[in-house]
């Protein structure tokens, strides 16, 4: 049972039950406020009846020509509210906004080790488009899958024909 609403600045004081999950990064303030200032329609929260933040999504629209696409920057759900379909709800919203903006596709990056997330995106209709080598810095660096789903504007589904070879991070636009 959720309230779906736009993220506000003050939510940054209340998102600890989501962000304390080890795979959820807490960024500097500018990261969040840039997204709020530039793509507020993509920055949405799901909130429980008791007022707790259950999860949120951050995204943007970028690219030119046939590369004009929606992008999932961050999608995270609190461990206490998993298996409720919230990730799907948030992704649906992002896809709707992208459709309205006439994007050709939606894409996202995910750690190759994050099997749970990869499976979830596959169930939502995303395919692995390419591998991006050493995308995530760490000890050691980790590869990412670039996963994609075509929007209705990509009639021939060109954007989701997988690449046969991995790419380097610097080659990603």
């Amino acid at each position: 049972m959720t309230t779906l609403r736009p993220f506000t600045c003050e939510d940054m004081l209340r998102f600890n039950n989501v962000n304390l999950d080890p795979l959820t990064e807490t960024y500097g303030l500018s990261f969040y406020t840039q997204y709020l200032a530039h793509w507020p329609e993509y920055f949405q929260v799901v909130e429980s009846p008791s007022g707790e933040i259950m999860g949120y999504i951050m995204g943007k629209a970028e690219g030119h020509g046939e590369n004009w696409h929606g992008h999932v920057t961050a999608l995270t759900v609190s461990p206490d509210y998993r298996r409720l379909g919230l990730a799907a709800t948030l992704m649906n919203l992002l896809e709707e906004v992208s459709e309205k903006k006439k994007a050709y596709l939606v894409d996202l990056f995910v750690r190759v080790s994050n099997k749970v997330a990869i499976n979830m995106y596959k169930n939502l209709g995303y395919i692995v488009y390419r591998t991006v080598l050493e995308y995530y810095s760490g000890d050691p660096d980790e590869d990412a899958y670039d996963m994609r789903k075509a929007c209705s504007r990509d009639i021939n589904k060109q954007s989701v024909i997988p690449l046969s070879h991995p790419v380097r991070t610097e080659d990603v636009d």
Binding site: M1, T2, T3, L4, R5, T8, C9, E10, M12, L13, R14, N16, N17, N19, L20, D21, P22, L23, T26, Y27, G28, L29, S30, T33, Q34, L36, A37, H38, P40, E41, E47, S48, P49, S50, E52, M54, P79, D80, Y81, R82, R83, L84, G85, E96, V97, K100, N114, V116, A117
Partner: protein
């Protein structure tokens, strides 16, 4: 150059640069935009408006026009003059009306700005007309019905709200933000007695609608929405009547909810709000219904992960409704719950990943609650030690479980060991804004826990975030909103910048850092920044899981602890300000300037003294501790201490003021008083930190907090003595190889200051003796036996005893080193004066 002005907070100079630039290059769009942004940074809305219209004149693009409109709206919001406000809003609206009539509105945010202006004028009808217009639909995605609802509510058009919400709910059964206005409409319509067919204007019709929603969930996922809606209906009806006849008992509804959703971790958090609406007597008498509704009891041994989750949901719901247990029952239940966790471990049912917790972890968390209850009843540390050992074991197998980490930090602090708490705190990897929202949990406590080195680091991190990110970047963020034309966020980002700027925790921490530095890393403190008129509370106090029943919840905890922290802020501000004024007075300055500082010092000391007196009366009641909230504020221990800190600081500071003005008679009198008060304080701190037969672990936190208050006075007094010696041995005398000719009065003053010095050294020596006898934790737990009995060999030994022992040893060692350094410094002061 503008970057350097921005970095050095000279934002008005940036405006000047661009004002001059556009005079030279009058049609340079980029320079004009920079000028506009420079006004945004300083909040000069009128100049913003002028700058925006200037660009629009030669570059007629929508963004610049709407920058001007936004600037007018901000002027309207800022003014208290109603007539001026109305004129400005009318102007802003007219500007956009013209654009609309010329078909020039292009962007979603332009439409949102228009709605903002209409909202400020409370023109709800006009807003609805606009939302229903084709233009809105072209520009703004999403449901028109949903967008209209808030404004229909303002107009009291409850029938329309009712119809729209029902339509929305048929397709979105799980949307709480549709149920809420639906219920609002039902309850308003109930008062109107309209009795129309399609409208739900009675409780019966409302209930029927919810039941239809429940039934419409045929196959597939069962959604929580309609079930929670029924509970919400019960809650609202119970405000003025008894809903039992229509809906059955609240107890039955809650138990039903649990039966359906117990396999989800969110079941009990959802239910928690509604358990409180069951009358306490009924709740407590029937609490076992929650435990047994799925065939479990407290001794059940589930064999699957889903059943473990269901068992835990039933156990936690039971404990949330049961009366708080006495010590024996609490310990028995804790042991049972611990056994459940260990059994899960034994049977390899602890399956976790880096992204998920294991359900069985919650057995341990609930056990920790019951150990905590027993500990607070008995005032004993032993149950807390059991909880710590159990939770550290859980963390070994479930390293992602932050609930366990947070509880460990809380419980290590409860036993006064900030270094042990720190070992877990580091694993939370808090960053950026979390340093603010969760600063209360560890940073604020470290300061009072006699770990000066680590506390200084934590306070420095918080200060760095506040100064650099919160302040500087927040202003810049407002320019992004204009740059991207996101007008709905301009006001929000402004408010956010102001909120962080006035953060209470950051204000307290900045002052605590400077005072703590006098003890551990002495340097002349800078005068603190002025206090804000109203500081903001940015704490996240809901983060630690809490399964205490409703009557143990403390609804005033937030506001009460915030008021206490504010009082403590004002005290430390006055104290720190006084210390920095003393530093100013030691400098070689003309007498007129010194006189000003002298008067300021007197005022500051009076403020401190009066505040101490008021606080001593107000904050004398020791408060209970909750498992999930902040501990009692430091101010209580500080003002209730038998050590007379008010006199200790006031008299010393006054003496320094008089010394700076060469008021010899007053100085001599006050010096004697300072000696006397140091001697009294030295005796009283021993009494306050007395070692008795009671549990050392349980009293450790209070003792260390008392000690930290006393150490603060040592730090401050030592620093102030250094200031005194600066005053009585001016620089030119030190540089000269000849001894200066001193008067009889001066010799007497030096003698008296030396006497204070020696007395302070004696006080430090007395404290050192106390530190030598500081008792250890008594460590005895039975988890090891239990593990052996169940043939469980954890992958690592329990770290608790080591962490506590080594942590305490380090605390004592660091304090002893600090005290040695203070003594050496004080001795050196006498030596330097007399050579």
């Amino acid at each position: 150059m503008t970057m350097s002005f921005r970095e050095s907070q000279q934002l008005h100079k940036v405006c000047t640069i661009y004002e001059n630039a556009v005079k030279i290059d009058t049609t340079n769009e980029e320079l004009h935009s920079h000028l506009f942004m420079s006004y945004v940074r300083v909040g000069d809305f009128r100049s913003q408006q002028r700058a925006a219209m200037a660009i629009y004149k030669f570059a007629p693009k929508n963004p610049y026009y709407f920058w001007a409109v936004m600037s007018i709206v901000l002027q309207a919001k800022e003014t208290e003059d109603t007539t001026k406000r109305n004129i400005l809003l009318t102007l802003a609206q007219r500007m956009i009306d013209n654009f609309i009539s010329e078909n020039r509105m292009e962007a979603e945010q332009e439409a949102r700005l228009y709605i903002m202006i209409l909202e400020l004028q409370e023109k709800w009808e006009d807003i609805i007309k606009f939302i229903e217009s084709p233009l809105y639909g072209q520009l703004i995605p999403g449901s028109i019905s949903q967008a209209c609802i808030p404004y229909l509510k303002k107009l009291g058009r409850w029938k329309k709200v009712n119809i729209l919400c029902k339509e929305l709910l048929y397709d979105n059964l799980d949307r709480w933000d549709y149920y809420m206005p639906y219920f609002d409409s039902v309850f308003h319509l109930m008062k109107e007695n309209s009795n129309e067919e399609n409208i739900d204007d009675t409780a019966e019709k409302c209930h029927e609608f919810i039941c239809q929603l429940v039934e419409s969930m045929s196959s597939g996922r069962t959604l929580r929405g309609p079930y929670l809606a029924r509970l919400e209906l019960w809650k609202r009806l119970s405000v003025e009547g008894d809903p039992t006849a229509l809906l059955g008992s609240a107890l039955a509804l809650c138990v039903q909810y649990l039966r359906v959703f117990a396999s989800k971790p969110c079941a009990v958090p959802d239910l928690k709000v509604y358990l409180a609406m069951i009358p306490q007597e009924e709740r407590e008498a029937n609490c076992r219904d929650f435990l047994t509704c799925l065939g479990f009891d407290e001794n059940s041994e589930p064999e699957t992960m889903d059943d473990i989750q269901r068992h835990i949901s039933c156990l936690t719901a039971w404990r949330l409704t049961a009366p708080r247990p006495g010590t024996t029952d609490a310990l028995q239940l804790a042991a049972t719950l611990r056994r459940h966790y260990l059994r899960s471990l034994e049977k390899n049912m602890i399956k976790y990943s880096t992204t998920e917790f294991c359900s069985a972890d919650s057995y341990a968390i609930l056990a920790a609650h019951h150990y905590f209850y027993a500990a607070t009843e008995q005032k004993s540390s032993k149950p807390i030690l059991e909880a710590l050992c159990l939770l550290e074991l859980v963390l070994l197998y479930s390293p992602a479980n932050y609930h366990v980490k947070l509880l460990l930090v809380q419980l290590y602090h409860l036993l006064g060991n900030a270094l042990a708490a720190d070992s877990i705190y580091r694993r939370l990897e808090l960053k950026h804004i979390q340093l603010v929202s969760l600063g209360w949990l560890h940073t604020a406590r470290a300061d009072a826990a006699c770990v000066p080195t680590r506390a200084l680091q934590l306070l420095a991190d918080l200060r760095a975030f506040h100064t650099h990110h919160a302040k500087d970047q927040s202003i810049e963020h407002m320019t992004y909103a204009y740059k991207f034309g996101t007008f709905e966020k301009v006001v929000e980002l402004r408010a956010w910048a102001a909120r962080l700027e006035a953060c209470a925790l950051c204000a307290v921490s900045a002052r605590r850092r400077d005072l703590l530095a006098l003890l551990a890393a002495p340097a002349p403190p800078a005068p603190p920044a002025p206090l804000h008129a109203a500081h903001t509370d940015n704490r996240d106090l809901n983060i630690i899981v809490n399964w205490e029943p409703p009557e143990l919840q403390d609804p005033d905890l937030r506001s009460r602890t915030f008021d206490q922290d504010m009082a403590y802020l004002r005290l430390t501000d006055a104290l720190l300000s006084s210390v920095t004024l003393c530093t100013e007075l030691a400098e070689n300055k003309p007498i007129e300037e010194k006189m000003q500082h002298y008067e300021q010092l007197r005022t500051c000391v009076d403020t401190f003294s009066e505040a101490m007196e008021k606080c001593t009366e107000k904050y004398c009641v020791y408060e209970k501790i909750t498992i999930s909230g902040p501990f009692p504020s430091r101010i209580i221990g500080f003002v209730s201490s038998p050590v007379p800190y008010r006199e200790l600081y006031s008299i010393t500071l006054r003496m320094i003021g008089e010394l700076s003005m060469n008021n010899t008679d007053k100085v001599h009198e006050l010096c004697d008083q300072v000696v006397a008060i140091i001697l009294i304080s030295s005796k009283l701190i021993v009494q306050e930190i007395r070692y008795g037969a009671e549990d050392n672990g349980w009293s450790m936190r209070d003792r260390l907090e008392s000690l930290s208050n006393y150490l603060q006075s040592i730090g401050v007094l030592t620093y102030l003595l250094g200031v005194c010696y600066e005053m009585i041995t001016p620089t030119n005398t030190k540089k000269s190889k000849k001894k200066a000719n001193r008067s009889v009065d001066q010799m007497q003053t030096i003698k008296l200051i030396d006497n204070i010095n020696v007395t302070l050294q004696q006080a430090i020596a007395s404290l050192e003796e106390l530190m030598d006898l500081w008792p250890d934790y008594d460590f005895s737990v039975d988890l090891e036996e239990e593990l052996t009995r169940m043939n469980i060999n954890p992958t690592a030994p329990s770290p608790v005893e080591n962490k506590l022992k080594l942590g305490l040893d380090k605390i004592i060692e660091d304090i002893q080193n600090i005290l040695k350094r203070k003594t050496a410094y004080l001795k050196g002061l006498i030596l330097n004066t007399n050579t």
